[in-house]
């Protein structure tokens, strides 16, 4: 039994702001997940024509002026929407907060590709004359852009930066927020991840060249993790930013607490640019369990990272079997099957989709699973239909990225 931590050393989630291809707040998103509603659609991309993608339909003018939209990036706009929604959801009044004590930590897979492609397209119309490169280009493509736009929009003067962490970005943004709170650097953290990737052709084209871009006659069935007939990744945009704070502060102001971040881990495969490594993934999950001071059997839900690729899904299943093999009460699901791969936002968004399980005791399923791949056998994989369970005390959220970057976050149902 671990010693009880003081409230200043316990970090809780008290606000959620999100936009997903199938919902623009947690209630809508959860409703879609329980109804099996996908957010994948046909989408036109420069040079490639029609592809399949997850597209968000939030109203950017809810929090931004038209000029801000013209100046900024899509990732910035997504981040602003999510950060503002998180503050509102946490029932905080920005005008009454010490804005120098708020930190903004946004996970990204990449940033700048969208505007780089756009600039090259623009100057092509002028025979590649570089005097036509926009003066807005630099502030749009600096790596801190999505987090920086949040501070400009909200008047936050505390630290801001992004965490470049491939598809593990959302978990790592959240972990960074937690760590800065523990260090006492800030009093509130806006932490999570965003993605604007669908607005550049590069990711689609590169996944296609890898033989890893999903295709299906029905867009809503294109993302099919663990299915024998899966054929790759559906690239999506999205965002999820949490308001996180120290438990003592949350209790003092009577905040609604979604859950406590009790465990986390980040490690590296040191193995390959793109191929996963089950052994290191298993080690990462074990590290997070150790940090939380719990054992594998304590976990109630695992949100898998699985993206719908042959190697990736199978490796994660192997890693899960190694860590959780004998525990029959651990339910496993997948959220990408609904929304595709929201890249830098994926970890944060997928975790959010599961948080209501603490209250409603329902595990949303992985959808589009018609023929389970024999390489992906898992106990209690929740397939196609939501599962009502007796209790949900711990959620484990896997998120892995290229260059062998693994991340795991464990959230505990809040109970003092």
């Amino acid at each position: 039994m671990m010693a009880r931590k003081p409230n200043e050393a316990r970090i809780v989630i008290t606000g959620v702001g999100l936009t997903a291809p199938n919902g623009n707040n947690l209630a809508e998103f959860r409703e879609s997940l329980l109804a099996g509603k996908s957010g994948i659609q046909k989408f036109n991309v420069r040079y490639m024509g029609e592809v399949l993608a997850g597209v968000c339909h939030f109203d950017p003018l809810k929090y931004q002026k038209k000029k801000e939209l013209r100046r900024g990036t899509r990732a910035g706009s997504v981040a602003i929407y999510c950060a503002q929604e998180a503050i509102a959801d946490a029932k905080l009044d920005l005008a009454c907060l010490d804005k120098s004590r708020i930190g903004v930590y946004v996970g990204i897979t990449e940033h700048g590709n969208v505007d780089t492609e756009k600039q090259i397209y623009e100057i092509k119309q002028f025979d590649y004359n570089t005097t036509f490169v926009s003066h807005h280009y630099n502030p749009r493509i600096v790596a801190n852009n999505p987090a920086g736009e949040v501070t400009l929009n909200m008047g936050i003067t505390g630290p801001h930066y992004t965490l470049g962490a491939a598809c593990a970005g959302g978990n790592i943004g959240l972990i960074q927020g937690l760590q800065m709170l523990l260090l006492g650097e800030v009093d509130l953290a806006l932490a999570g991840g965003v993605s604007e990737t669908i607005h550049a052709f590069g990711a689609f084209a590169s996944f296609r060249s890898e033989g890893a871009l999903a295709s299906h006659a029905d867009p809503e069935k294109a993302c099919r993790p663990f299915d024998k007939n899966r054929n790759g990744v559906v690239v999506s945009e999205g965002g999820c930013i949490y308001l996180v704070e120290r438990l003592g502060d949350a209790l003092k102001r009577g905040a609604r607490i979604y859950g406590e971040i009790v465990g986390y881990a980040i490690n590296s495969d040191a193995f390959d640019f793109v191929l996963p490594n089950a052994q290191r993934q298993a080690e990462c999950m074990k590290l997070a369990l150790n940090k939380a001071g719990i054992s594998a059997g304590d976990i109630d839900i695992i949100n898998t990272h699985a993206t719908g690729t042959r190697e990736g899904d199978a490796a994660e299943c192997q890693a899960i079997r190694e860590v959780f093999g004998n525990h029959i009460n651990v339910y496993i699901n997948n959220t990408k099957s609904y929304i595709g791969h929201t890249m830098g936002a994926a970890a944060a968004l997928e975790l959010a989709g599961n948080l209501p399980s603490f209250e409603d005791h329902i595990v949303h399923p992985t959808i589009n699973l018609d023929h389970l791949d024999p390489e992906c056998p898992l106990n209690n994989l929740v397939i196609n239909e939501p599962r009502k369970v007796d209790k949900v005390n711990y959620i484990l959220n896997n998120s892995f990225g290229m260059l062998g970057l693994n991340s795991v976050v464990i959230i505990k149902r809040f109970g003092e």
Binding site: K66, K67, R70, R71, T131, F132, H135
Partner: protein
């Protein structure tokens, strides 16, 4: 292009650059930046639009001549007369 046409083009460009501002009462003889929120990056957008649409290069030394709508029209008229 006539002076009126040039003014109309300028107003369209400014409206596009600062879409939240009401330009109905914009006075031609008072610096634009004293009447509406238009910062230096917005101003560079005007320069870029003139370059993109009409191939007009405005040297940095001449930027002051684009301070008001009227002075802009006067400055641009000889350069846009034959367009």
């Amino acid at each position: 292009m006539t002076k009126e046409e040039i003014k109309s083009v300028l107003m369209e460009i400014v409206a596009q650059i600062i879409p939240d501002e009401d330009l109905t009462n914009l006075k031609g003889d008072i610096p634009i930046r004293e009447q509406v929120e238009l910062d230096s990056m917005d101003f560079l957008d005007i320069i870029m639009e003139l370059r993109k649409r009409y191939g007009i290069e405005v040297p940095e030394d001449d930027y002051m001549q684009l301070a008001t709508i009227d002075s802009s029209v006067a400055y641009l008229e000889p350069r846009m007369r034959d367009l």
